[in-house]
Symmetry: C2
Subunit: 186 residues, 2 copies
């Protein structure tokens, strides 16, 4: 049973709530009429405004060329209920299989990019490639997040965090101490 | 009560176990006889061998100049028992206070760098600055991890993951499905 999320526009300068904790994400892309999805664990936020994210996508990955050529992608945030799909997507090749079909995922049209959003994910972040200067040496894209689609509930999704060796950490409880922060540091 | 860890050398190409899940880390630095510590949440692994990590360190941070000039730092991995210290370190300035003294942390000499390791942290990663080309535009350092110091136990530390707004996610349980991975993808 998969949760049906009712998503709305979320400020792109606030995506740290979902991405800074470091969950595994699914990156969807589209090029010449073909869709693909990959799993990604090596990325970081780089700037609030514009909202920038840097990510390593290995050059022999099928998605690498699709993102480089189309200059866009969508970062999708799965929760624990999609963990088996996350593993499956990371362990088959997009040049021989339609991963949306294989894993019963639904492509949804974005507002800014042609790459498909994954409906079943908690959050979707439409991105365009912003800077490619680190591609030759590090296979590292700098993306700008153009739009974030997030549901009202839950406020904090139960994400999965990869540790290598086939083992994932599942997000636990949240604790807050905002009163101990300087306002400018929140 | 703080845990006393008995650490040993850990392969630097295996640090994803600790850093890929995205925990908050403490970055210690040393320049001209002065030590400093900062909290950091915006970083990612970039390569296994050499072991590379990219990180955003804001340019008006006191640590920025110390790391840029000394060309080295230590990434220290705290667990939940140091959460109040993590918050405190992130909310005071290193140009006016000795954070080791203020937070009763112990600087330990490294093997490869002059920047001090934080004894009370679960893990310590000695780093040198490897590439500065993204500093002017993005305040983004690329570091090489030269040595990792990790205890035998616990295998997976209970880390803290920042979400903004003064709220942290605490690492939850670990689940493993290595049998569902292709060997080369583990």
């Amino acid at each position: 049973m998969r949760t049906v999320y009712h998503k709305h526009d979320f400020p792109v300068d606030g995506v740290r709530r979902f991405l800074e904790p470091g969950p595994i994400v699914l990156v969807s892309s589209r090029y010449k009429g073909e869709n693909n999805i990959m799993t990604m664990g090596w990325y970081t936020l780089m700037q609030f405004t514009p909202s920038l994210l840097g990510c390593f996508i290995v050059g022999y990955n099928h998605s690498f060329d699709m993102i480089r050529k189309s200059k866009e992608c969508v970062i999708n945030l799965p929760t624990t209920e999609l963990l088996q799909e996350v593993i499956g997507i990371g362990n088959c090749h997009g040049d021989s299989v339609d991963k949306f079909e294989k894993f019963s995922l639904t492509p949804v049209k974005g507002d800014y990019v042609n790459a498909p959003l994954i409906k079943e994910c908690y959050g979707n972040f439409e991105c365009k490639v912003s800077d490619t200067r680190l591609l030759p040496d590090y296979s590292f894209f700098i993306l700008e997040i153009l739009k974030a689609h997030i549901p009202d509930h839950p406020q904090y999704p139960e994400t999965v965090h990869y540790t290598g060796d086939g083992i994932f950490m599942i997000a636990g409880e949240h604790v807050g101490f905002p009163e101990k922060f300087r306002p400018e540091n929140l």
